[in-house]
């Protein structure tokens, strides 16, 4: 049994970068001009590759075809090149490679981990998955069926209900409001031609971001990268996803369900990763509701009052918006009390800021926690991709501590005032909460 549970509204791709002094990060450019960040590591016979197609996430799903990106992730390894579905899967298993794809709202991700002795075949299998997926009828219908069954399975999940409702208020009219997995109707509408178009229009070299770790030479990696990605179009189709300022400030919505515990999701506009105040905001956020077992929300909601098992809040910087979001879950009878305590802490941090001691501690936390990401090859590869997605250069890795240490208390507390506002919270509650009234 764990003492904490994961964040509420979305899975967040956390963009906390690594420090240079811990690892040897190199920037490579292949013969065809494709860039990759690379950490050589021969400590175990494994190679891990992560990549992203920037701006090719679910937000670009055509209207009425929501769930397209998600469906593509399920089908790239279900038949590619000369290999039909079962043969492809068997080929991956034969060499114990691990190939997976993931669609975020903004970006499309691919990951490969292989024993280095099998990397030749593994890279080949990844190459055909992204360059020549088959989308044969049997796997297409099978995966569609799995998504539809999954949607039904999640239909009455309080988190799913709450998350969907919260996003539909805050991002009303924008693609971010739509569920990444789509709806039963939209998933049923997706045709093979849509799947092919998704790949043809979005998998392009101008969108590509690559991180590689492991037991492979720099020279070989350059060749591999050209084999994998060199045949993709140089430029992909442009998709215009509009910017959205979060809406619904001050709204509280209660979705009644006969369950013993009320799920509370809340948040408001946040701050973009490119904003110069990003670091100060991260620090205030960490003090208020960040990870670890000692944030203010954790202390007030859980430790002092025993109101919840999990309570947290975080910044979610997106490409076309930015939010602060958080949540908790409390027995119905005390749900109002939980919300009141969270609001009070939210107000307090905006009005009074954080203390000099808290600032010093959170800087230590941020500087001390980065090497923990370096414990596994996938952790390193994902971090290399994340740093690049944030638009940062390789030199950032050595500047990071300096940037963090330079944040002053005045800055932090100005940003706390500017970003956090208890009256602007959009709140969604699922359950039969006592002491919480809807505010339209």
């Amino acid at each position: 049994m764990t003492r904490r549970i994961a964040a509420f509204v979305f899975a967040v791709f956390i963009l906390v970068p690594v420090s240079a002094h811990a690892i040897d990060v190199r920037r490579l450019v292949s013969d065809k001009g494709i860039e990759a960040w690379f950490v050589p590591d021969k400590s175990i016979p494994v190679v891990a590759l992560s990549f992203a197609f920037r701006g090719a996430g679910a937000a670009t799903d055509p209207s009425g075809k929501e769930g397209l990106a998600e469906m593509v992730t399920g089908l790239l390894d279900e038949g590619a090149g000369d290999l039909a579905s079962q043969n492809y899967q068997r080929a991956v298993e034969e060499i114990a490679a691990q190939i997976s794809f993931d669609a975020g709202r903004d970006h499309f991700f691919g990951r490969l981990r292989t024993l280095s002795a099998e990397r030749d075949r593994a890279f080949q299998l990844m190459r055909v998955a992204i360059n020549a997926p088959r989308f044969d009828a049997e796997p297409v219908e099978r995966v569609r069926g799995q998504i539809l069954a999954g949607l039904k399975r999640q239909a009455e999940n309080p988190r799913r209900i709450g998350g969907d409702a919260w996003r539909s208020i805050v991002f009303a009219g924008h693609p971010y409001a739509r569920p990444t997995e789509g709806t039963a109707k939209s998933v049923s509408e997706i045709a093979v031609a849509d799947l092919r178009a998704f790949v043809a229009e979005r998998f392009s070299r101008d969108r590509l971001i690559i991180g590689v770790v492991g037991d492979i030479s720099e020279a070989e990696l350059r060749t591999r990268i050209d084999e994998l990605f060199g045949a993709l179009p140089a430029i992909g189709k442009r998709f215009a996803v509009s910017e959205i300022v979060p809406k619904g400030a001050g709204i509280t919505k209660v979705i009644e369900r006969r369950i013993p515990q009320s799920l509370i999701i809340l948040g408001h506009a946040g701050i973009k990763r490119s904003n110069p105040d990003w670091y100060a905001a991260t620090m205030v956020m960490q003090v208020l509701g960040g990870g670890g077992l000692s944030s203010r929300l954790y202390e007030e909601v859980r430790e002092k009052r025993g109101l919840a098992y999990s309570v947290s809040a975080y910044l979610n910087p997106m490409e076309h918006s930015a939010i602060v979001a958080g949540g908790t879950a409390t027995q119905n009878a005390r749900a109002g009390e939980s919300l009141k305590v969270i609001r009070a802490e939210w107000r307090k941090v905006a009005e009074k800021g954080i203390s000099a001691r808290e600032l010093a501690e959170v800087k230590d936390y941020m500087n001390g926690s980065f090497p923990l990401r370096l414990g596994s090859s996938r952790g390193i590869a994902n971090t290399l991709v994340g740093v690049q997605l944030s638009g940062l250069d390789i030199g950032y890795l050595s500047r990071r501590a300096e940037i963090i240490n330079a944040v002053t208390l005045e800055e932090a507390n100005r940003v706390a005032r500017e970003v956090f506002d208890a009256d602007k919270l959009t709140v969604v509650v699922v359950g039969k909460p006592q002491g919480i009234a809807a505010i339209p």
């Binding site: 049994m1 879950a329 923990l372």
Partner: protein, 466 residues
């Protein structure tokens, strides 16, 4: 999130059981000496731990891994929910929460504040057989966390003022995990009925009414009874040396006195003679699900080959997209949207082998059940192709190499072995033993296992009315 392995099976959905399965494979696996073609011979030894024991009986395992300047400490105690007295369900897990509440010299919350201050990660987890605590920190901070962990091995201080709010936290945890989730409730009922007599049937988190009756005194009594160096294993992995860890262990854990530890004698299962069936209908369910769990021998209780054969069986039968059940039921017949088999073989006293199937979005659950049982019978009748068994074995063995890609898998494997009746050598020889399993052994294990009298079938359905 660090859920306890058995706690997952006990309290929640099959999805979590599947996650647990993957974890179990990732965790227990090592690399082979008789290596298949793709395993480099030089990699024959994997975790290659250094082990020693302090005079007070604390066992210590050090896994040196200098890849990144970080280190993980885990302390495992041989006590879990199956060691509770009847009527005190949830006590082992409750005490786990209370270990964060301070000692004679560390104030409540100070432990976690110190870990946060250095950017560390920490957590703890409880199963039927074990309770474990861990921190991951920059390697140069390992002394601090060893000092803190050794302190709470003997100096815990509890008062109602901190214990009572934490009891409410655990009640909320129960609501989050179980009471808000029909699948978890079904799993809890299923588990209760799978065990006719053994305490594995008890939910690790405890029954609501029994958690509400737990007290500071009961927690302290449980602590004094089970928390001692001679009932624990310290594991340190990462950018450390065995010499340094030994010196620190002697300094901080060395002075902790031994205690008399009660033997872990638990009620045994009687012969199981009747198949059981649990059905949960809920208005929260839109998509039905079917599963069956068989009581099985564990690594600790089976003749060795039997448990390893079951591990291979779970893979070849329902471990992935090319497994027999997935291929026939999902790909060829299209009657299921998903199907998986899993073996949770780590229990000190018993293990579980399960099959989960999800119908298509508009599918019929009775037809699905019939098809699954037909395919199971056919698999036992016809056997598996040797190439399929070889591929399954290769996958399990390769997970051994991947297990070294990160700090967590090694400590998990040794901690589970220690608390669940296995040895360091068992962990180290895992790939060899998987490799040695023959198709005949897999089939024999399958025939003995698949006895419906030792099973519970559980079905999750939408509300149908009275």
């Amino acid at each position: 999130m660090s859920a306890s392995l058995r706690a997952n099976a006990a309290t929640s959905s099959v999805t979590q059981a599947l996650r647990r399965l993957r974890l179990a494979i990732g965790v227990a696996a090592l690399v082979l000496t008789t290596a298949p073609a793709f395993v480099p011979a030089a990699q024959a030894a994997v975790f290659s731990p250094k082990t020693f024991e302090l005079e007070n009986g604390l066992k210590v395992v050090v896994i040196e891994n200098h890849r990144a300047p970080i280190a993980m400490q885990m302390v495992w105690y041989r006590v879990g929910a199956a060691d509770e007295k009847p009527g005190e369900s949830g006590l082992a897990h409750f005490l786990e929460h209370l270990l964060f509440k301070g000692t004679k010299t560390v104030k409540p919350g100070e432990f976690s504040r110190k870990i946060a201050r250095i950017g560390g990660r920490e957590n703890a987890f409880t199963s039927h057989d074990y309770t474990a605590y861990y921190q991951t920190v920059a390697a140069h901070e390992i002394e601090m966390v060893m000092k803190l962990e050794a302190d709470r091995m003997q100096n815990l201080v509890l008062s109602d003022e901190v214990v009572m709010p934490e009891r409410d936290v655990v009640l909320e945890e129960r609501r989050t995990r179980t009471d808000n989730s029909p699948a978890a409730q079904l799993g809890e009922q299923r588990n209760r009925i799978l065990y006719l007599n053994h305490p594995y049937g008890r939910p690790v988190i405890g029954w609501m009414s029994e958690i509400q009756a737990l007290t500071t005194e009961k927690a302290l009594a449980f602590y004094r009874k089970h928390y001692a160096p001679n009932n624990a294993m310290l594991i340190v992995a990462g950018d450390v040396t065995a010499e340094h860890v030994r010196a620190l262990a002697e300094k901080y854990y060395g002075p902790v006195p031994r205690r008399m530890i009660p033997a872990r004698v638990r009620p045994k299962e009687p012969p199981q003679r009747a198949q059981r069936r649990v059905i949960l209908e809920s208005e929260q369910v839109r998509q039905p699900a079917w599963s069956r769990v068989y009581l099985a021998p564990s690594f600790a209780t089976a003749e060795k080959e039997r448990a390893y054969a079951l591990e291979v069986l779970s893979q070849v039968l329902g471990g992935g997209s090319t497994s027999r059940l997935y291929r026939t039921l999902v790909v060829e017949r299209g009657i299921a949207s998903n199907v998986r088999a899993w073996y949770a073989g780590d229990g000190l006293d018993y293990a579980e082998f399960g099959i989960f199937a999800s119908p298509t979005a508009d599918g019929d659950i009775d037809a699905l059940e019939k098809a699954v049982l037909q395919e199971l019978a056919a698999a036992v009748r016809e056997g598996f192709k040797s190439e399929d068994i070889e591929r399954a074995k290769r996958l399990i063995i390769a997970s051994a190499i991947y297990a070294r890609d990160g700090l967590r898998a090694g400590p998990m494997a040794f901690g589970q072995a220690f608390t669940q009746g296995q040895t360091v050598e068992d962990v180290e020889s895992w790939p060899e033993r998987i490799s040695a399993i023959t198709p005949d052994q897999v089939m024999e294990a399958a025939r003995i296992l698949l006895d419906k009298r030792r099973s519970v079938t559980s079905i999750l359905l939408p509300e149908k009315g009275p």
